[in-house]
Chain length 259, copies 2
DNA sequence: GCCGTCTCTTGATCTGGATCAACGTATATC
DNA sequence: GATATACGTTGATCCAGATCAAGAGACGGC
């Protein structure tokens, strides 16, 4: 049996227009399509017709959470999907004895909370201070009828997520500890690049325990792998949460099974 | 490093209306909505408006494959999605050194082949003789504009698949060998029940190597787990491919971590 | 500045499942 | 019915990564 660390949590804000709204983007940031966030082309609604965007912005709701806040729990009524505006969110499932599997990390521009049969299959928790755009699922369904582009966008997002899952299942089912850590770092780096952030140095908002519970290892093994890579000159670790990738190609070779 | 068994394959039929069509359902079986298959309520197109169904049946194409036939390979142009009419399909990713991860099994009524950016992220191979309904993705996209119900149905299918992935990631990341095998058997049983087949006895169309490569174990460990369960009176194994679940609740307890 | 708490790292030891090695068992061929 | 070829089971041994244990930083509270 594998150990897995579970941490505490609390608090369940409501979307009522008065609690926790982040309000409009700060002046310094570029305005998003609907004027409610600064995601630019990363926004779910980017590129939609003006009419569609205004419909979305009428049902949308912007919220802020603090680290360890729970956005929703496994088994809760699945009422909304979320788009991350800022910060980082983790999503996990628990076993009765406390073993935990983090099934995903979500950053600026990522969406999560798609669910079937009305209940969430996992718990979502803020890692850092987080701003999210919340879209009520039911009203989204109604909008989808008049604006099929919304549903198509959802299909695209879900397809991308499915592809990620295939990769992650390969990682968990068949990769060694070194390969898992290398893959994890490269995946974060690649996602940073795609969202317009520098792919290195990488900042890890999650702790070693979160990484371990995501890639099916223990804290100790994750830590050791990082140290190996550092000693081998593949990484610099100015601090535990800062990773500079020195030799991306070598790390890629390891991640793909040639290390 | 984990061993994983790769088997051979070959053959790539084309959808040209003359090759491999299964033709209409046999007289004994209930006709499906579009008249091209006998999936009944399991069919993707079940419940659609007559107009939508006839549009679908014009772009649809029915195909048959033999065991070990490859439907498509990782990296191929992703031109179509597939719905299984009969038989079983496995979907997998390979690592350069031959390690293999089976990311899913698909049975009667299941759909697979959703892909992004035009290339499949995995290889699909027939386990048994297989009949599939093939829907060209591009034309599906065109249809979706006039019939949003198609896209909604796709969202439903993908949401269900995402939920399955969350469960499978938990299995691979945090469950013991016993728990994995118990979970696997119960999942197959549950899927059989949902599609209207008896949940027990269960017939396993895939071999032990396929099971192992799906749940991140070796053939030997899968075999041992089956033997343990048999000795403990949880299962009957009249033959390697036949599993009667004697004590579903006890097996469930094991699967959930209480065994 | 000092203390408590938490996270990360490093070392020593243990173990679940992988690996290695036969040996059954079933279907196919001739 | 003998032989070949998979596939599945069982046993013995090994090892990658878990577990156990102890420091080393980092950081907030007062």
């Amino acid at each position: 049996m594998t150990r897995s660390t579970v941490t505490a949590l609390r608090h369940d804000p409501v979307c009522d227009g008065t609690t926790g709204g982040v309000g409009p983007a700060t002046p310094a940031e570029s305005q998003g399509p609907c004027g409610q966030c600064d995601l630019g082309t990363l926004a779910f609604c980017d590129g939609f017709a003006a009419r569609t965007i205004s419909s979305l912005s009428r049902v949308q709701c912007t919220l802020r959470f603090e680290p360890h806040d729970t956005l929703f729990r496994e088994g809760d009524q699945g009422l909304a999907v979320y788009s991350v505006v800022s910060g980082a969110v983790k999503v996990y499932k628990l076993m009765p004895d406390g073993r935990r599997q983090i099934t995903g990390f979500f950053f600026r521009g990522d969406m999560f909370g798609f669910c079937l049969d009305g209940t969430y299959a996992y718990t979502a928790e803020a890692i850092t201070p987080v701003g999210v755009c919340r879209l009520p699922m039911q009203r989204l369904g109604e909008l989808a009828e008049t604006a099929p582009e919304i549903q198509y966008r959802i299909v695209l997002r879900m397809t991308a997520k499915l592809a990620q899952f295939h990769d992650h299942v390969l990682l968990l089912g068949r990769k060694t500890a070194r390969e898992r850590v290398a893959t994890f770092l490269l995946t974060l780096s690649d996602r940073a690049r795609r969202r317009g952030d520098p792919p290195s140095p990488l900042s890890l908002p999650m702790g070693r325990a979160d990484i371990a519970d995501h890639i099916g290892l223990t804290v100790e093994t994750v830590s050791r792998a990082m140290t190996w890579f550092k000693r081998e000159g593949l990484l610099d670790l100015p601090s535990p949460s800062q990773v500079a990738i020195r030799q991306p190609e070598a790390l890629r070779a390891i991640a793909d099974g040639a290390g």
